[in-house]
Amino acid sequence: MRRCKPLLGTFVEITINDPYSLHQLESASRAVDAAFAAIALIQHLMGFHQEDSELSRINQTAHLHPINLHPWTAQVLVAAQEVHQHSNGAFNCGVGHRLVAAGLLPQHPGVRAHQFGGIEDLRFLEPNRVFSTRPVCLDLGGIAKGFAVDQAVQVLKNNGIKSGMVNAGGDLKVFGKHSQVIYLRDPRQPNHLTEIGELKEGAIATSSLYFAKRDHYRPSFIINPFASPTNNPYIEFSESYSVVAPDCLYADALTKVLILSAGKTPSCFSHFSAQAIALST
């Protein structure tokens, strides 16, 4: 069974490899529905576009008073802080205002004209209660997609699915006993594919600009968090950077760290059991 829905601004595809008879089809279908529902919830909680998402509430008021979070939002923020710390700041979700300035994300009332802090300014009072020492404009676009893939896989497993794959527009996770041959798009011509290896019980995420540049002429959505407020923070590149890791959340976040190191495997990759793949042009 393979199904696909538009979520997270891309096409999310769920594949189940389990053999099933006709009467099991319905329960497999329900498992896939539940997995899609989990992704929709993550979009609702962590979307930058939605003004009423938990992320938007953090951006509007976390510096004024503490905010109670859904455990999943808290989990993603904690992971974002972990990657931020281990990458010495190369991964930072506090770049939302840069993407707004470039017209890549919408401007919301109540989030403007500040000197913004970063993910490091968040403090957890309780596991699901957070405040910020400075105003922030976080965008979880560089990590939440990976988390959504992981959660969807977890929901499938909880519903008795043994083997399958979740692919959110190119960031994917494979689970169960089947290994999967993985193809990557050639950054020079995205309709050309390279077989890059075989993956079992793991995830791969990719960052590249070939689709972004094909469809519009806007600055890159990859931001250099070290750029000073007056410097151009948009990193333009033509390569394709992929990260293989046990979980898609870390694979997704670490692609940005790999871009900043221009493809040289960053030292924190061993901490995350991650491997880098760069396709040059």
């Binding site: 393979r2 199904r3 696909c4 829905k5 538009p6 601004g9 891309t10 096409f11 595809e13 594949t15 279908s29 997609k145 692919n167 527009g169 190119g170 960031d171 994917l172 494979v174 290994s179 999967q180 993985i182 193809y183 990557l184 798009r185 950054p187 020079r188 995205p190 309709n191 050309h192 594919l193 390279t194 077989e195 890059i196 290896g197 075989e198 993956l199 079992k200 019980e201 793991g202 791969i204 995420a205 990719t206 960052s207 590249s208 689709f211 972004a212 094909r214 469809d215 394709s240 992929s242 293989v244 890791a245 046990p246 493809g263 059991s273 491997q275 793949i277 396709l279 040059s280 042009t281």
Partner: protein, 182 residues
């Protein structure tokens, strides 16, 4: 985790890349999508003649030029709707189904098939026609083994425009067909 890299790909050699002239993924058939989006409903085909005026309004609301076909509309007894449409982009063609509640709320979207190509073929009516009407049970064999494609995230903006078109169709043409209360 078990990762066996292709030894040549390790060197970042994109030169090994093989072109895919076009590939198609068929997810579910129209009947399956009806079951998934509106389970336990009896659907009746309810085709609609799309006047030139309506076609133009749909185009303006969605910025999709490809004409809407009014013969893929179904109605449930409670007044819910099931509509099949496609978006034809420069690089891809997507068949999809939308279920609407009697009041026009989107209940769900399901992709029926996704065809990716190197652009110009997609625009060819004859080339496209070969995919139409194929079901998940009779998938076309076209690079069928290539399924697990990683890479930069593909935007679903065109599809969002398509869903906007279906919502507009409801507002302009289907809403007034809602069952009248006795």
């Amino acid at each position: 985790m078990n990762w066996k890299p292709n030894s040549l790909a390790l060197f970042g050699v994109a030169a090994l890349a093989t072109p895919i002239a076009a590939y198609a993924k068929i997810y579910v058939s129209v009947e399956q999508a009806q079951q998934l989006l509106l389970p336990n409903h009896v659907l009746t085909k309810s085709p609609l003649l799309i006047t030139r005026d309506l076609q133009e309004k749909l185009r303006l609301a969605s910025s999709i030029r490809h004409p809407f076909q009014g013969d893929r509309i179904w109605k449930a007894q409670d007044g819910s709707w099931f509509i099949v449409d496609e978006v034809v982009g420069k690089h891809e063609m997507i068949h999809y189904a939308v279920a609407l509640s009697p009041s026009g709320t989107i209940l769900g979207i399901e992709i029926l098939e996704y065809v990716e190509s190197y652009g110009y073929e997609v625009a060819e009516e004859t080339w496209r026609r070969q995919f139409i009407g194929k079901s998940a049970n009779s998938p076309i064999k076209l690079n069928q083994d290539i399924q697990n494609i990683g890479g930069a995230t593909l935007s679903c903006k065109h599809l969002t425009d398509g869903v906007k078109r279906v919502a507009t169709l409801y507002e302009l043409a289907l809403k007034n067909q809602a069952p009248k209360s006795p």
